[in-house]
Symmetry: D2
Subunit: 346 residues, 4 copies
């Protein structure tokens, strides 16, 4: 057995705490040696709960810790750049939760830093580790559906997150916060995107107008290959957390996703009914775990990251282009001049 | 019981022959008195088979027939205008299969003629009579999903129709021939469309480039209400005839459509498998019958048509706008100057 | 084209009226020439509606009609024997709705009469003509599931029929009235039944105790081949008309049946819901039509009946054995002494 | 936080090793302090992997360990009695995997011992902890389906386990080894069983005749309440691990189970296909974890066991009765003289 990889988790919010727990027993080859959060009480509490004695308030101290070989960054997006910079300088292996940044310029800068430092860097896009999505990738590679010609994806939250969370100044807005997952999948399955066109609106939650964000959107994708795509995003999938992707090819179609959480059907005079997937934790817990497992294995075995920093930049770029398209009501090219001003969007 | 309505069917191709058969026994209150086709042999053969003694080569003779109170027009689209004109002048009740025309100008002219003549005119859009689509309309009206905010629809043919059929000079191209159904549903469920944006490509059948049409497309819809839409069209739904529509509202979602034709599941080491819907006949036969039944009842009871001539114009207008948007790669407004040149598209 | 087969329908209740309508336009090669019912008013009304001028009060007159080449018997079960006898003597082709009789002795006598007369006789078991059930038969014959080892079938009514209808003196009781369909399928797919064991109870409708029938039952089947079976019957499938059959083989499993009538899913905070199949008309209308079509074709083409009189006797025999088993709480062999007293059951 | 419960796992086969892993990090409040297996190498290896320093070859040493407060018994069934006896004497809390024993007399003796010792004892029936099965229990209690009248359950292995495993001398045969799960659920949902009737056969794997067991069976259940049941068991569910239960009530029906493992549909010219659940690990892993979590919580909080030793005896009793019924081809009462000789079955 390999020596276990010493890991520090930075950012102990909801997802960060989960990551820390997974790393503390469910990820083979991982050794959670430190946790860090600006909220030192939270860090101390989680550390105690997990039996992790190193609990830092300052992430810099975690990075400086010799036992920490890899850092898992789950802190607020606005802090990613600084932390990645420091971690890269210290030569740590890095896992960074999506999005890299809400600023395209910052993201590009992070990519340069990571490349120059030559450190291992894996981007967090957990959907790529879901069994259904993985199976779709493999089926496409096996030629089961021939040449993919249409990518179709939906992301629906079961309720509106808090306005504080949604504030585009932090979240980057609907296309960056939510659509980035679908845009990453689009690239993964179909190759590079040539241009996008978005429409959207504040249709379900008028209060979102105050923070300047929309709650529903549709983005058309034109891929460099000539293939087509459409993504719809919504904050009002009130029936459940509904994440679906479909890839239509010349020889067949793949549909990824499911809606029923509990394996029971209730059949009465009111019809046949089943429940739905509550939220992302239920839908993607195993994907988060598989993702972290992959991170650890890739580092230990000297493999390339499953999702690279460049993938993170590219997905952000598409998200920013989608946002710009919505704002200016015109098709926007992913590369070239169209995005010059994209960085000032949020 | 009312006296039965004397009906003549004009155009005895595949769908026309089916219509004639339905009218000859399965539509209450209808009396099929005459059939007509430029192919007189075909008319004679079908007439003999159905026991309909009046078999005309010239549709004008059918319209002139005193026993014919209503005409069902299922002839090639290019003949619709002339026939509707004649039937309107003769004061016959008219049922006209979609599309009205592939020319927006012609369609608008037909609308004027029909309105001036004051005859009953019902447009053929059979999906509106499918049990699933009808149920969706009712559920929306009942408020089950709150305010609709997203319309999402897919039409996929299981194979490429003949190039002769597809030739845009006759069919109007993908958006008019195929997309018009989805665009009609869009208007029915969501209200008027403000603008559209289309992308497309010849991705599965290179030979379609010769006739100047595409085989896959995605159209974004922006409704006057502010709601959003996306339609994807494909000629390569090789797994089956796949017609699906989804309406997302503030309180819920409706999904219309199904894929399994035969109620059997085969479960072996290769997995769980079922078949698919072969084609439109299987999917919509009952809708065609219900549609004709409604036509007859509406005429007999002096009701308004279920789908009006103006609906036919509006759906064509949206189809033409979608085509123009694809050709010019820009959002196109449904009304106003944007469509001035739309009539020259095909 | 063949000369059409002159047909007379005897018994114009709900199902008989439907049969008459199907035969009057939807069955190729059939010519409905006469209808008959002891309720002469009903016969006259339906005859007028369908444009069938021969409307008899006495079935004997219908049988005596020279134009009538085939009779379709849908009258009450208690009249089947007499009518079959007369029709056989007159050399008419016979279609008889299930069950042949509720008396095993009577049924056996009918079989002898039919065989001696040498007339064409087809038993009515419409499930054998359902697309799903037909596909299952074909898949088994193709070896898709290897050797069948388990037959599993369910028949559930969505509500309790009237006590008058259910009275075992007329209906034969739950196993004969309802279970006979599953027992016929059991023989069709699996071969002859060796023995049965039934349990049952009046569990949902206490008032059924008054007429001496049960509303729920489970019957185990042991086939001559050594294969196994289980059938459950219920009058309280209150969520819908639920008819399902499953055949497990050494290489796979087939499942026949479906529950959703309308192709729409409603997705709200209350979950994902669809409707159910209301009743047998919706579930099996096409099967009834296909069944009659087959009857007409078999007669015209001199083919053997799809379902023979002997099949009718055998299914009844199994139903009577299931009833006896329930009454005596012991396994009952289908053939031999066990059934000697079975004929006195009802 | 409570002090964690010191636990020792006895028996480190496939399931025992999994239990040990779950208890070593995924069960809150549990502290895995020792493992034991007659295969000392296996015990040492697993102990090392999990960082559990106490690795016993003799289970007696584990029981004698003061740190061990609760024992989890996953050793071969034939050893259960002796271990339970020793653990009870030592006053340890006991979790025992199903079945208690294959001997009814032994099981009854274990129940007496446990009751006399007054120790906590929880029976392992993991299905009771599956989300679907739990939801069904709750829905029944809430009255969603009215009064339950029919219990219907299926257990199908995707392949034949080894003949060594299946040997009835160890496994107890099909009804005890496999059917006991369905019989336990039957009691849980419907109350006590009055009598059973079984049929069965060696239909898929002739080689099973050598060990004297069958590979398919159907058992009818008659409950004390008057309700009915049917269970089918098969070793040749070659398409996947298929575990399904249905409860029909006077007001509705519940269906528990699912078949698709990976959330992807493949749609090609060959139809629409999905995969299936491979085996019990995939289907019930979370149930095993929830079950152990419940065991630990019940012990710590002084609650009654979720599944009692008496439940274990009762389920075995029904399994033995089902076996006897099959062997003698007659209905067998669960209590009373019928089972006097049942203990000698295997």
């Amino acid at each position: 057995m390999n020596k276990r990889l010493g890991i520090g988790v930075i950012g102990l919010g909801r997802l960060g705490s989960s990551y820390a727990k997974y790393l503390n027993g469910r990820i083979e080859g991982a050794h959670l040696v430190a946790v860090s959060d600006v909220n030192e009480v939270a860090a101390a509490r989680l550390g105690a709960e997990l039996g992790v004695s190193k609990q830092y308030g300052r992430y810099q101290d975690l990075i400086a810790d010799k036992e920490v070989e890899g850092v898992v960054i789950v802190s607020p997006t606005s802090t990613h750049q600084e932390i990645v910079l420091d971690a890269a300088k210290s030569g740590k292996a890095i896992f960074c939760e999506k999005p890299l940044s809400i600023s395209l310029e910052a993201a590009r800068s992070m990519l340069r830093v990571v490349e120059q430092a030559g450190v291992f860097f894996q981007m967090g896009f957990m959907r790529r580790f879901d069994k259904g999505y993985v199976a779709a990738k493999r089926k496409i590679e096996e030629g089961v559906i021939g040449t993919p010609v249409l990518f179709k994806s939906s992301s629906r939250d079961p309720f509106r997150p808090s306005l504080e969370y949604l504030d585009p100044a932090h979240s980057g807005g609907l296309f960056v916060d939510c659509g980035i997952h679908d845009l990453d999948l689009a690239r993964w399955y179909m190759g590079e995107i040539e241009s996008v066109y978005s429409i959207g609106g504040t249709l379900a939650y008028p209060e979102m107008k105050e923070i300047g964000d929309i709650d529903n959107a549709v983005t058309s994708l034109y891929f460099k290959s000539g293939a087509l795509g459409t993504i719809d995003l919504s904050r009002n999938g009130v029936y459940g957390y509904d994440i679906r992707t479909e890839i239509l090819g010349t020889e067949g179609t793949l549909k990824v996703g499911y809606l029923r959480e509990t394996p029971i059907l209730v059949m009465t005079k009111d019809g046949i009914t089943h429940d739905t997937v509550p939220y992302f934790t239920e839908r993607f817990e195993q994907s988060y775990i598989t993702q972290l497992q992959g991170f650890v294995e890739n580092v230990q075995q000297g493999k390339a990251p499953s999702v690279s920093c460049a993938d993170g930049v590219a997905a952000l770029q598409a998200s920013v282009a989608a946002t710009l398209s919505y704002k200016e009501n015109r098709p926007v090219k992913i590369q070239g001049d169209d995005l010059v001003q994209g960085d000032d969007l949020v």
